[in-house]
Amino acid sequence: MSKNNESKNLDEKLKHYRLSREEYERMTSLLGRAPQGVEWALFSALWSEHCSYKSSRVHLKNLFSQSPHVLVSFGENAGVFDLGQGERIAFKMESHNHPSFIEPYEGAATGVGGILRDIFAMGARPIALANYLAFGDVDANRMSTLIDGVVRGIGGYGNCVGVPTITGQTEFHRSYNKNILVNALALGLFREGEPVMSARANGVGNLIVYVGAKTGKDGVHGASMASESFDTGGESKKPTIQKGDPFYEKLLIEGCLEVMRAGIVEAVQDMGAAGLTSSSFEMAARGDVGFKLDLDKVPLRDSTMTPEEILLSESQERMLLIVRPENFEKLKAVFSRWNLDAEPIGAVTKGPHVELFWHGELMCRIDPKILTYQAPRHERPFDKWLPRHRVLNIQEPSFGPDRGDRFDQQTPNELLNILTSPLGSSRAWIYRQYDQRVGAKTIFDCDESVGVVRLPDSGRQLGLVLGGRPHVMRFDAYVGGMDSVAYPALELAAKGFRPLAVTDCLNFGNPENREIMTEFVASLDGMNELARASSTPIISGNVSFYNETMGENITSTVTTGLVGLGDPILDESSHLPPRSSFQSVRDELYIVESAQLIFTGLQGERRDHSPSGQGDLRAKEVAEFIQVVRHLSLSRAVRSTRVVGKFGLPYALARMCTAQLGARVQWQPPSKQNWFSETLYQVVFAVDSDRSFEWRELFNKLAANLNINIVRLGEVSDGSLAFEGENRWSVPTVKLRQAYETPWEFVP
Amino acid sequence: MKVGVKILPKNEVLDSQGRAVENTLQHHGHKLSGCRMGRYVVLDLNETEKSRALARATEICEFVLYNPLSETYELEVLP
């Protein structure tokens, strides 16, 4: 064979396995020889962006992830945070974007299944789910089918497995037309004495035990697929999609938690992306041990499968356990009670190699560290971040969508239009399809801006909220990164919760594109800076690159999940957090603000204006503001709170209205600003008028010497939302609710 | 011997899935005057004789496979 031909063959092989020339050089140098046979598939899977984080790792290592309360952060299935009093939580968010675009129901469902396995693999019982969805224009091609399928898939899985969905976020923008986002978060609880498990294999001679569903051909090459841009709309890639079975998962949860609590399992990992390959190589590498694996002992659904397919299958609901030989029979008995098989497929060795056998014959012998810790690290080029879209002086007419949004007769109609549009309308038709109360711990469901569950032993309240606002990212990625922590932290604080920790999903386009990488680094810096300033460590997360279809990248989207701790509810007299809607006529309305940045916001985009704004976020001041808001919200005088977000103050007030209760406010946009522009950050408080004096005193004490203002807006009233002053207008609350609750269910 | 079990909602029971499919088909211009949606179960029975196989299948249907309140079933021996 000529040199030329050989080189051509190699190129084809590299293309098939989605590896680059440089990666090939690295493989051969680490191995000391050329890769052979099944090794190609192993490198392809484990060196994929999805498994190796090769484009992001150099940046992720700088994340603020440590605090005395963080028991486990990156490197395990999920982060674990200590709440004290024996209670600990595990939580993590993960993307399932590509599979959900190809097959929305199964893609979203298996996204929920996968993140739940990460949680109970740690030994925690899942007690809450949340999901962050970003869709394209509702009338874009296939979009109604995608929306409907994703929502059904999440419900179909979560409802059946019996974990409540307590909060969520849904965004729409044309940049997601060909690449939607489905990020699922799961949170689990360890009660006193329940062990935190590890995915670190140990103990030479221990058994490697396969538990759960049999292996089929589903999802072969899924991990490397998730690391590639879509080129043909995904249709041709259909055969690799996996199908989930929530009933089986429920059995797996019960079985796994039972053996963990009985202390008869040493280490656990879910077989997620790249299936048996990633779970076995990662477990061995973490524990600095070797594995001897008999691939022919893997329980199969399809007897024609090749070793390569067995290694790469992404069949769902499977776990890999490390078990002492003397415990195996006990373990098998527990799983059999839950109708599950447990099969030993190998043993832990001194190492350092993982040896794969096929019917007694050694087919591969490789050091697992080569595939994991020594995977390539790319330092993708990026530029220093320069603030985007700023104007020098907000008084200039260049600020924002001026015409039409300055006051005119159309303003009330515009508010109704916003409330009716997918951007501004209620998500109730989505979350009504999710069981929000199974587990009987739910205090605040998806109707509220923060989900809240009650911890059964201490009675303390745990708040959960998602963050990350794509329109802020489009305005400025650095600000967007800060906002992805600041905004949800404020939402927690406005319910009296102390923000504790963050999980994130970083959804970006092609990292080989310099602009995307620049946004990635900038938003990560922003997120990190705010996490540090507000002492909320980032304890788990995932990166999803290549959200790109035919050269079009999605909005760089940082999504986050924040957990906060609130006071205990011990009996019927315990105080509940302020609601997100008005509670009582004559409550006094205030805005508390630390106005650092004002921009044209979502309304600007809605009107196709290029974004503009003035000012900058200062992490320290935001952190101080969060603290003040929390202390103000803990006061029993406060009956409702809402953080002002998209579409500014009139929209926030409209959402606080009920069918009966409205508000009378003396508020006009500051000169040259429009009604719907957005200020970072403002919080609306509705305060019991009998106790407002003491509450104002509290404010004066808390905000002394800080750059935080309070403005009296007006009061809660009956029947309408009325703006008084120079340009008076009002809308009946019944009309507001009607507009907001206009169902826009999609029948594909 | 394999026996196929065709289970359909009774005619008098509102079949919401069938109705939804029908509406969609109509919406796309397919003219039809009805659509019922059920399930099909293939039983691989350890029987060699047709009448025995059908008797076993009937027994299984009566035991769990269909709900006489809302469904009907038909059996067919499969090649």
Binding site: G156, Q436, A440, E572, L576 | N67
Partner: protein, 215 residues
Amino acid sequence: MKPVGVVRFLGTNCDQDVFDAVAAVGLKPKWLWYQDQFDRRDLAAVILPGGFSYGDYLRSGALAARAPVMKSILDAANHGTPVLGICNGFQILCEAHLLPGVLLKNDSLRFRDGWVKLRRVGEASAFCNVKESVHLPIAHGDGRYYVEEDQVKQLFDDGRVWWRYEQNPNGSLDSIAGVLNDKKNIAGLMPHPERAMFSYMGGTDGRDFFTSLAL
């Protein structure tokens, strides 16, 4: 007071919630495993909790209705032991023919979560402490109650329609949300009383369903 049995099938997911609700009103809950049988004389009542037994595969409740524990439940019910099926438990009791009718897919074809107002129509012997009108959560995909036309009237006449929705959430015949057997010791209910035990849950109307069992 004898314990209240709480049945667990494979896939049942409201089992712990019901167990805790029973304990919360001062009664003693006791697990009943789907493969086991029990002696009816040991129990004051039996509750079949909600939540996707066998993943709702085939038909919701169908596979659980054939589990070994159902023999004991039938025996207990025949001897007058109060039996309450909640949500999937209601579906199981219908599939086991201990209650009339069947629960079909919601008319919207979607799972439905939320709070509903219910009005009591009939009276269950074991749940006499329950108010006329209650506010409870629902969470189900297959909640559309159906019986044959001629049977509905009979059920109403016999006082065997237990609860009706004020606003029908799922297309149930005559807005029926709960029914009783002829002796009125077996009761099925689509909403979840165990999710309305304390104010922080959003309401306390569910408590009476459990306190009734102590009377």
